[in-house]
Amino acid sequence: MAESTQVTLTYREAVREALREALEKDPRVFLMGEDVGRYGGCYAVSKGLIDQFGEDRVMDTPLSESGFVGAGVGAALAGMRPIVEVMTVNFSLLALDQIVNNAATIRHMSGGQFNIPLVIRMATGAGRQLAAQHSHSLECWYAHVPGLKVLTPATISDARYVLEMALHDPDPVIIFEHVMLYNEEAELLPKEQIAAMDKAVIRRAGQDLSLITYGGSLGKTLVAADQLASEGINAEVIDLRCLRPLDKTTLLESLSRTHRAVLVDESWKTGGMAAEISAMLMEEAFWDLDAPVLRVCSQEVPIPYPEHLERAALPQVADIIAAVKSLPGVL
């Protein structure tokens, strides 16, 4: 096979190319958010797009999260295909009303008369010493809400291709981009190899247990799986990719082979995504389980600023390995 078409991209570039393609392909698409235009995006994701597409299609907004996210809902209602960037999940709390009370409800509440083909992108996660108000992982809050779809692209190829799928979806889709991923670099896979946006993907095959994770925790989980392999424990690593709807089929199929599961989730343990999946596995795969389902999550604390405390608060490779080794029958 010729290898001349291989492309290596950063996660940031992958999202940018996805945005560029979306803006090129469909005149109904426009990007709006705080500093997405002249500044180039807080994380430099949209850098250069305003020069190519002009300020009507790459719109800088004032600091009015509720206002412009709601405007995205309204524009979607009226036939556009808006992509709204909320700088971070932390700021999205100011737009919760529009997302939860409008975007998620209007289709059902109107008896199916209206749909909201809206895409909201936001950065999430900790790891850059940004302290307690800029380190949240609140994906599970949105995954709680019927009417929304929640994507967590963890790879460069997913970052490149899920936006198009989200834009083709007739309902509101929220895409979470973990801040620690933007500088990650990898070879871009051909589009045909990318699974549908709502499918979980097995990133590493294994038979001893299933490590289930998503977003910014995928990398750590794969590292942990490699180290476990060197000790003779073969972990399967599943990247959820989509938190709502949850691809139960892939999870249950994996469990039917491995009989053990450890969830790795950067959000807090209490009431988080890991709790939800753990309960689901208990309900639907109880007789497949040879061990309790374990969770590796963030400590129950506002994420602190100092590097050593931040590290201690977040799930680390060593925590994942320790959890796996504590499972009965693994060693």
Partner: protein
């Protein structure tokens, strides 16, 4: 009341039509109250009694393509917009012949056919939607105006300020209509606003803003027509504060401890219907028989709507989850 010099384009028959439309809302709302006490209508019920002139006066100059965004006190707007009594009443009965298939109830009337976008039960929650729809219309070069109704309670919300700012910044075709009935639930205007001349707040965002007597349908009609004409020329949003009074409680649960009976009675004399009846009697020979005849016709329409609502079907429980998401047909 100085209608004489303001009637302009409104002739004798136009004024009778306005009276008829207000009476239609009044009698409909009175019947709703009865049906509520009979437990035919459940949930929250917010009546528009006393405020009829606003919806009627504004809707008079709207075109079929124009959009409406309303609040949970929106029966009057739906009727003034041309939705049938049956689809509104059946919605409150929770039947599938309701305008939202019975899923929304009193607070969530939707109609794609009438460009009627709710029925929003979060105070100020509709304003960002209006901004977005007007933004889409502007981007798509459609000649449409979005009329956004809200009560004066919304003025205290952040979404009000965000939305007005965005609307002016982006020069959007929106008519903001503040229905100032002096009480946000039970909190009087002067107990919640530092500036009680609410149109001044809108003016501070650099948009044309004024107040009108919200009990005077002619004054409202004239102000709305002028504002809409100017908005259609692409001159950006405008703001109309309609000063009115809610004759009934906030909802059916309201015992109205926060205001005296004398106050309510004082306002009753200034009601939009008594004013217009008086004026038409004095100047255009309106007779009591004519008014009775109108009421009779309206009551027949209401009777029919109630009968059709009673006969409406309940949505089967098997359809409970339908339209949470758009059904994507594969094939």
């Amino acid at each position: 009341m100085s209608l004489q010099d303001k009637k302009l384009h409104l002739g004798k028959n136009d004024l009778r039509e306005l009276l008829y439309k207000m009476l239609r809302i009044r009698l409909f709302e009175e019947r709703c109250a009865e049906l509520y006490t009979q437990e035919k209508i459940r949930g929250f019920l917010h009546l528009y009694i006393g405020e009829e002139a606003i919806a009627v006066g504004i809707c008079q100059s709207l075109l079929s393509d124009d959009r409406l965004v309303c609040t949970y006190r929106e029966h009057g707007h739906a009727l003034a917009r041309g939705m049938s009594m049956t689809e509104v009443m059946a919605e409150m009965f929770g039947r599938t012949n309701g305008c939202s298939r019975g899923r929304g109830g009193s607070m969530h009337l939707f109609s794609a056919e009438h460009n009627f976008y709710g029925g929003n039960a979060i105070v100020a929650g509709g304003l960002p939607l209006a901004v977005g729809m007007a933004l889409a219309d502007k981007k798509l070069n459609r000649d449409r105006v979005t009329c956004c109704f809200f009560g004066e309670g919304a003025v205290a919300e952040g979404e009000f300020h965000e939305s007005l700012n965005l609307a002016v910044l982006w020069k959007l075709p929106i008519l903001f209509i503040c229905e100032n009935n002096l009480y946000a639930m039970g909190t009087a205007l002067e107990r919640s606003e530092s500036e009680t001349e609410l149109y001044r707040k809108a003016a501070s965002y650099s948009m044309p803003a004024k107040y009108v007597d919200g009990m005077n349908v002619v004054e409202i009609e004239i102000a709305a027509k002028q504002a809409l004409d100017e908005i259609r020329l692409g001159q950006g949003p405008q703001f109309l504060e309609c000063r009115c009074y809610r004759f009934k409680g906030h909802s059916m649960f309201d015992t109205q401890l926060y205001r005296g009976k004398e106050e309510v009675e004082k306002w009753l004399d200034k009601g939009p219907i008594v004013q217009l009846v008086q004026w038409l009697s004095d100047n255009y020979d309106l007779t009591a028989e004519e008014v009775d005849d109108m009421k009779q016709r309206i009551n027949l329409e209401i009777d029919a709507a109630v009968a059709e609502s009673e006969q409406g079907e309940l949505e089967p429980v098997s359809d409970l989850l339908k339209d949470v998401y758009t059904e994507v047909t594969h094939g």
